[in-house]
Symmetry: C2
Subunit: 344 residues, 2 copies
């Protein structure tokens, strides 16, 4: 079934307000989930909302805090997320960085004790909209085995980068795993075999059986290099944020524990130079129009696909499983339970 | 043949001083090349010295400048390299960042008009030795085709990251291409076929013939994700440094033109937290001792191999092609030509 952005925002915001979220916080969290749907990434969309709600109800998310930060150095915003909603804490940090970067030129937020951010693209896009270069990184539970290893020791450790241009910004958002655990769950649900090389089972053996992979580990993308990038992000985040390392991380995938992963956000002011933004756009256009390896499939710039899908979804709505939409609606509280929710 | 670190440093330094380099600059450039040899990366080692010398002799490198910089914002060191020796300009920038980061917590250098840096690991290691997290990126000539494309549109765009720990730092240094052009030249010289998927020829067709690949393009590592990272680094460097984009870059591989690529260096002060450095070391050790996929081949942390090779090479010397060593010695100028060199 098709859902409009407006209906999705209204429902997600309402469900969160019913759990005692400030309206502004509910809208911020709903926006991140709905944006993922609009961009065609349902793994980071509304299917995450029931878990967020369960986490609020169990006290693992405080939907009324923005976290607490201080400038531990002139350009380093040190944040204790105080178990706030991930996007609320992160967006509050982005605001502080955007102010500071006017004089410092570069500023970084190092965040611990914060909940899941959802798609990192959202944050760096927001930064790029103001004309800044943005970088975001997050750590996660141990889900990825090292190159040459067999046991899950690393998080999926995504990184996002956005660079503004005279036209559409470049927006990169990638996990350093070959695939997401969400995709493996999707294969498991449908019973289809996975491509070789994606995952290992709990005993560390390569498997194409998604059901076995769920308790095992995912391969890093790009062999040794992708593994190298993933583990560098892992220790870089912990070194800067003081957050936990993958084997000790919990709370991004479950509703059982406080979340102790780390997030890094960086904002940089581009060089002010004549025609530079236009030169970047022209370059990206020259890559887009360079000869494709497959006729009729033009070369893409990171962010192009998401941007096109988003425009279409804003016009036509986005697809959602009717069972998920029903489940979300069923989470709406009656007036009496709303009162209970507010006394939480 | 085996060469000692001391002999290599002495020869390389002498050759550069004979071309009018300041002693300190000659030692800095020689150190970067010799360190690559010690770490087992001869593609970034002394074989690059004849071209550096030719570039000095043609006026494409000024071996007496450190470049000129200014703080374009409190934490952004904006550098015009003035065609100095790459490592000299970059190390001078690292010194400025190391001073500034004491108060700013994070600082970045954006460098244009600088010559080739050699192995980026060298710079971030230097940063990590002082207890800081280091990140380095460089752009280059168009050598890499986009994922889904067939024409060289991107540089090899390497990135290096070092994170200090209580033990050996993690030191990542990777090009975003599947292989280096140096390796393709090596295959071409030996006539061996290359593995499939490494490269395309000048017409954009996949090839395993290294001779044809030399005039073609290299594949990005890790398919769409590696391409995404490579093009994000490409535009990020240009946006921050105001340097050229790959199709317009020259001067890193040839002796014909001034070098117009860009370099980015970032220094960040880690969080001061009890036991954090030890926790990072313990984590890396747990990854090293996690079960390997191949018995007897333990999981490696980025930088481990280079560190072991360096220790062995400092003890036993490093291997060099006798023809290269002879060629380098032949570049030594007689006393009369030294005088010419100094009047250059």
């Amino acid at each position: 079934m098709k859902i409009s952005e407006r209906s999705a925002m209204a429902l997600a915001t309402r469900l969160l307000i019913q759990r005692n979220a400030l309206t502004e916080h509910a809208e911020c969290q709903a926006r991140v989930l709905v944006e993922a749907e609009l961009k065609g990434h349902p793994s980071h969309g509304l299917q995450r909302l029931p878990r967020i709600i369960a986490r609020i109800e169990r006290g693992h998310i405080d939907p009324r805090t923005k976290g607490e930060g201080f400038w531990r150095a002139e350009a380093v915003w040190d944040v204790d997320g105080r178990s706030g909603l991930g996007p609320v804490v992160a967006m509050a940090a982005v605001e502080r960085l955007a102010e500071r970067v006017v004089t410092s030129g570069i500023a970084i937020a190092a965040i611990r004790n914060n909940n899941h951010l959802g798609m990192l693209a959202h944050y760096v896009e927001h930064i790029a909209e103001r004309g800044h270069v943005g970088v975001a990184m997050s750590s996660s539970e141990a889900l990825v085995h090292p190159f040459g290893g067999t046991r899950a020791m690393l998080g999926t450790n995504p990184i996002a980068i956005a660079v503004p241009t005279a036209g559409r910004p470049l927006v990169l958002d990638l996990a350093t795993s070959t695939v997401s655990m969400g995709k493996i769950h999707h294969y498991a649900a449908t019973g289809r075999p996975m491509p070789e090389g994606w995952a290992r089972d709990a005993e560390g053996k390569p498997t194409t059986d998604a059901a076995r992979a769920k308790s095992g580990s995912i391969a890093p993308f790009g062999d040794a290099k992708g593994y190298g990038l993933g583990i560098a992000i892992e220790v870089l985040i912990a070194a800067l944020a003081g957050s936990a390392l993958a084997p000790d991380i919990c709370g991004t995938l479950d509703a059982e524990a406080l979340c102790n992963k780390g997030d890094i956000l960086i904002v940089v002011n581009p060089k002010a130079a004549p025609e530079l933004a236009q030169r970047l756009s022209d370059y990206l256009d020259s890559v887009r129009t360079s000869p494709p390896s497959e006729a009729g499939r033009p070369v893409a710039i990171p962010g192009d696909g998401a941007s096109l899908r988003r425009a279409a979804a804003l016009r036509d709505g986005f697809d959602i499983e009717p069972s998920l939409w029903d489940a979300l609606n069923a989470l709406s509280l009656s007036p009496s339970s709303v009162l209970e929710g507010q006394s939480f």
